[in-house]
Every structure is written in structure tokens, then in C-alpha cells.
């Protein structure tokens, strides 16, 4: 048996093959890297609208009050005050304060929660939830029953509203249930591209008809992981396994605004300790002087040649027309505007914030 045989496939696998996608291994899943080409798919997302298969991601349902169920202690952000049909981004931490995963909590009802986690971490996350939720409350890992499609880009509202007119009411980080092709599906106004966009959570059976229906519109193109990685890097979003993992804390990753210190949560002690002592490393953006890109795992050097950190993700940015990246550097070397060297110290860039691209339509 080859490694290929052990990869999981989403319900849309045959659709990708039919569209001549180049398939790659990603976090234990066989996923489309690209269809037409990474840059073309990137551009279509920024200028029009694309669809992504994100069915590899995990979904959990929890029934119970946020405090009584134990859910509140598992996630880092405040959820007790979430309005119904709203979404909130945050993390789950281990006792040492490391990030076990980043996730989005949906409040379906006063005592019903829908949680979206990363694909590669789903089994680990499910074990963590089961281990820390109180027995009397219901936890279900429904990942295998759910198909998920992201519709992203400035034309996403118009395209999706042609099938579900009611989605126009959704503001940023809210969701609801809608009728789509005769089935009730969850649609949230969320995404991973920095553009106006939606995510559709349907049954595994309906995900293929929805995918086909969306692509019937000649203005809609499929986009793969390659375009998604550039889009999320430009927008300043972290990728679990790159900018986040169990050895990285929210303070180091610059995600402390998604940590609520007014409540109790797993990892709070470690978080407070690090906050008091100060984090030793911090995540910064890097913008290259030219079209050459920083690449994952390259070392970063300061102006005088001393090693100061490493690159966690890098790519060519079509928006900046330069190479961009993010990486961890020692705290005393993290000043924005400071020169940084990468690629065996031969290439120059400047340290910046993590966000390279902002579009106001995302939240309007």
C-alpha cells in the first residue's frame, strides 16, 4: 500500500478529477492544488468569485449551556455573550498555553453550538472535546456527514443570492439555515481569503449538486489550495501547522485579542505567565525587496547577519507584486521597518505587519 492509498478523499473528489485538478496531499487529505492555474484562480477570487472544496474541515455539534457543558473552558475566546446565529473565531489551548487548533464557534441556539475545526486536527480535537466536556452533555463529531464549499470573492453575494436570495441579510461573521436545492443548509458569512464570502455546510449527499449548480454559472471558477494559500497569506490569516501549533502560544502568534481573560479556560495560567514575563518570539510579516519570495523553513537574519528567526509561510504576492511571508523572530528583533535577510541571507526584505491586503467589502 502506498501513502496515496491512506489519504482521505472528500465527497467532491471525482468532481476535482473531472475538472482536471492537480491533486496533492494536504493534512492527510487528497485535495486539489490547482485547476486552471494558481495565479488565474487567485485573480478570479480577488476580481470575481471562486468556489473551494473545504470538506476536509471538521464539524462538531455540542448541546448544552456554554458554562454547564464545559465548552467555555475549552475555547479561548468569549462565547457566553454570542448572539444567536453569530460566529466567533478563537482557539483551543493546551495546559501549557500552546495552540491545539484555531476554530470558529457558531451559536445555533442558546444551548446549541456548531464548531468548525481544521481537517488534519479533527480527530485530536474531538478527543480533547470529549475529554473536557461534561458527560451529561451531547457532543457529536459530524465531520463525515458534512460537505463544505466556500464561495469567495466580490461577486459571491450576487452569485449565491441567485440561489438563496435570503443570504443578503447575512452580515460579517453571522450565519443561518437556508433552503438550497431543496435541502436545509447552514451558510455563514465567513472565509479565508480576505474577500466578501460565504461558507456552505450541507449534507455529504447534497454537496455535489451544490458544487455543480454553482459552477453552472460561467462567472464562477473552482479554486484550489495553491490560490487559497496566497489569498490567506495576503489577508494575514494564520495556517495551522505553519503559524500555529501546540508549541506556539496566542501571544507569540499575535492572536491575544481572541483570548478572553475575564473567564476561565484551559491554558489560562500559562497565558498569564507568558503575558507577565513577555513572549520571546513574535510573528511578523516580511515583504521582499523584489519578486523573490521567502520560503517556509528558511532562516531569517538581521541586518548584521545574526540569525533572528525563521519563515513559516511565504509566497509571491500578486497584490504586492513582491515576495511576502510570515515568520517568527526574536522579540528584540521584531521592529516593523527593520531590514531582514532570507534565502541563505542573500535576499532582502523588510519586517511589516501580517496583513498585506485589505478589502472593505469583506465586512460591508
Amino acid at each position: 500500500m502506498t501513502a496515496q492509498d491512506t489519504l482521505q478523499r472528500t465527497h467532491l473528489y471525482n468532481e476535482h478529477v473531472a475538472l482536471n485538478a492537480r491533486m496533492v496531499s494536504f493534512g492527510g487529505w487528497e485535495m486539489p492544488l490547482q485547476y486552471e492555474g494558481i495565479l488565474a484562480e487567485y485573480t478570479h477570487t480577488r476580481k470575481a468569485v471562486t468556489v473551494f472544496d473545504t470538506s476536509h474541515m471538521g464539524e462538531f455539534v455540542i448541546e448544552g449551556g456554554c458554562l454547564e457543558s464545559g465548552l467555555d473552558r475549552i475555547v479561548s475566546m468569549r462565547i457566553a455573550d454570542m448572539p444567536l446565529q453569530s460566529c466567533r473565531y478563537g482557539m483551543m489551548l493546551n495546559e501549557e498555553g500552546g495552540v491545539m487548533d484555531d476554530l470558529i464557534v457558531f451559536r445555533e441556539d442558546a444551548e446549541k453550538w456548531f464548531i468548525v475545526v481544521n481537517g488534519a486536527t479533527t480527530p485530536k480535537d474531538a478527543r480533547h472535546f470529549r475529554g473536557h466536556l461534561k458527560q451529561s452533555h451531547v457532543f457529536k463529531d459530524i465531520s463525515s456527514e458534512i460537505g463544505k464549499i466556500d464561495v469567495q470573492g466580490p461577486r459571491s453575494r450576487e452569485i449565491l443570492a441567485a440561489l438563496v436570495p435570503e443570504i443578503k441579510k447575512l452580515s460579517y461573521y453571522t450565519f443561518d439555515r437556508f433552503n438550497l436545492l431543496g435541502e436545509t443548509v447552514r451558510i455563514s458569512r465567513t472565509g479565508y481569503t480576505g474577500e466578501l464570502g460565504y461558507e456552505i455546510y450541507s449534507s455529504a449527499d447534497t454537496v455535489i449538486p451544490i458544487w455543480r449548480e454553482l459552477l453552472k454559472n460561467a462567472g464562477v471558477k473552482p479554486a484550489g489550495l495553491g490560490a487559497r494559500d496566497i489569498l490567506r497569506l495576503e489577508a494575514g490569516y494564520s495556517l495551522y501547522g505553519h503559524e500555529l501549533d501546540e508549541s506556539i502560544t496566542p501571544l507569540e502568534a499575535g492572536l491575544q485579542r481572541f483570548v478572553d481573560l475575564t473567564k476561565d479556560f484551559i491554558g489560562k495560567g500559562a497565558f498569564l505567565k507568558q503575558q507577565k514575563e513577555g513572549a520571546q518570539k513574535t510573528l511578523v510579516g516580511i515583504i521582499s525587496h523584489d519578486r523573490r519570495s521567502p520560503r517556509q523553513n528558511q532562516k531569517l537574519y538581521g541586518e548584521t547577519g545574526e540569525e533572528i528567526g525563521h519563515v513559516t509561510s511565504g509566497t509571491f504576492s500578486p497584490f504586492c507584486q513582491r515576495g511576502i511571508g510570515v515568520g517568527f523572530v526574536q522579540k528584540n528583533h521584531s521592529q516593523h521597518g527593520q531590514k531582514v535577510l532570507f534565502g541563505e541571507g542573500r535576499h532582502q526584505g523588510v519586517m511589516t505587519g501580517k496583513t498585506f491586503y485589505k478589502n472593505d467589502s469583506l465586512k460591508n
Binding site: 490547482q34 494558481i38 495565479l39 519570495s293 509571491f316 515576495g323
Partner: protein
């Protein structure tokens, strides 16, 4: 996958077209397809001496950076500076507008170390 009949090829997927002791060098259609969208080309310096099968240029695509090896020894006499501003030409036209450098050949016998188009086609098939 396009292979031009009268060019010569390397196992690293570079092509060379020889005319009057000048070799025009680039990467093949297979190479550009495998690399994906090319976003940066580091050209050799004009007048640089290059050795056969030694690194002489770098390509970066949206996926990775790759070294390019010179198919033949000699002196670089011209480089395709268009690639610096429009590296995507390498994807669109790998055998014509996407040429990388022209090299004045120092040892024409080295051409016998390269594959013919027919041999390169078989090489691509066997590589699967």
C-alpha cells in the same frame, strides 16, 4: 506536452537550440507545467562563464524555487531581460519568448551529452 523537434534536451528539462556556435537556452514545456506559475527569474550575468550541467539561473514559481542548469559550457552573451518584468512568459511560451540566455559555446562536443527530441520524449514517457 510539447517537445520541439530540432532542439536538444537535458534530464533536468532544459532545452538548447544551437545556431552558429551560439546556444539559446530555456526550460521545457514539461518543466514550466511542473513548476506552475513562474513569478521570478534570476538570470545569469552577461559575460559570465558557465559550465555544462552547473547551476546558472533560478526560477521561482508560486509553489517553489528551482535551480536551472546550463545545458552547455561557454560565455553568456545575452539574457532575456523581459523575464524579469514578465516571468509568466516562461509559462506561456517556454520554447520561444521564454528563452533564458544565449551562450557562446566553448566546446561543441558537449552537445553529444544532450538528448535529441526523440530521446527526450522517451525520457518523459519513462519518467511517467
Amino acid at each position: 506536452m510539447e517537445v520541439v523537434d530540432y532542439y536538444l534536451y537535458t534530464k533536468e528539462h532544459e532545452w538548447v537550440s544551437i545556431e552558429n556556435n551560439v546556444a539559446t537556452v530555456g526550460v521545457t514545456d514539461y518543466a514550466q507545467e511542473a513548476l506552475g506559475d513562474i513569478t521570478f527569474v534570476e538570470l545569469p550575468a552577461v559575460d559570465a562563464e558557465v559550465e555544462q550541467f552547473e547551476e546558472f539561473a533560478t526560477l521561482e514559481s508560486v509553489k517553489a524555487a528551482s535551480d536551472i542548469f546550463s545545458p552547455i559550457s561557454g560565455k553568456v552573451i545575452e539574457v532575456n531581460t523581459l523575464l524579469e518584468s514578465e516571468p509568466g512568459i516562461l509559462n506561456k511560451s517556454p520554447y520561444e519568448r521564454g528563452w533564458i540566455a544565449k551562450i557562446e559555446i566553448s566546446d561543441s562536443d558537449e552537445a553529444s551529452n544532450l538528448m535529441t527530441a526523440e530521446e527526450y520524449r522517451k525520457f518523459l514517457e519513462s519518467a511517467g
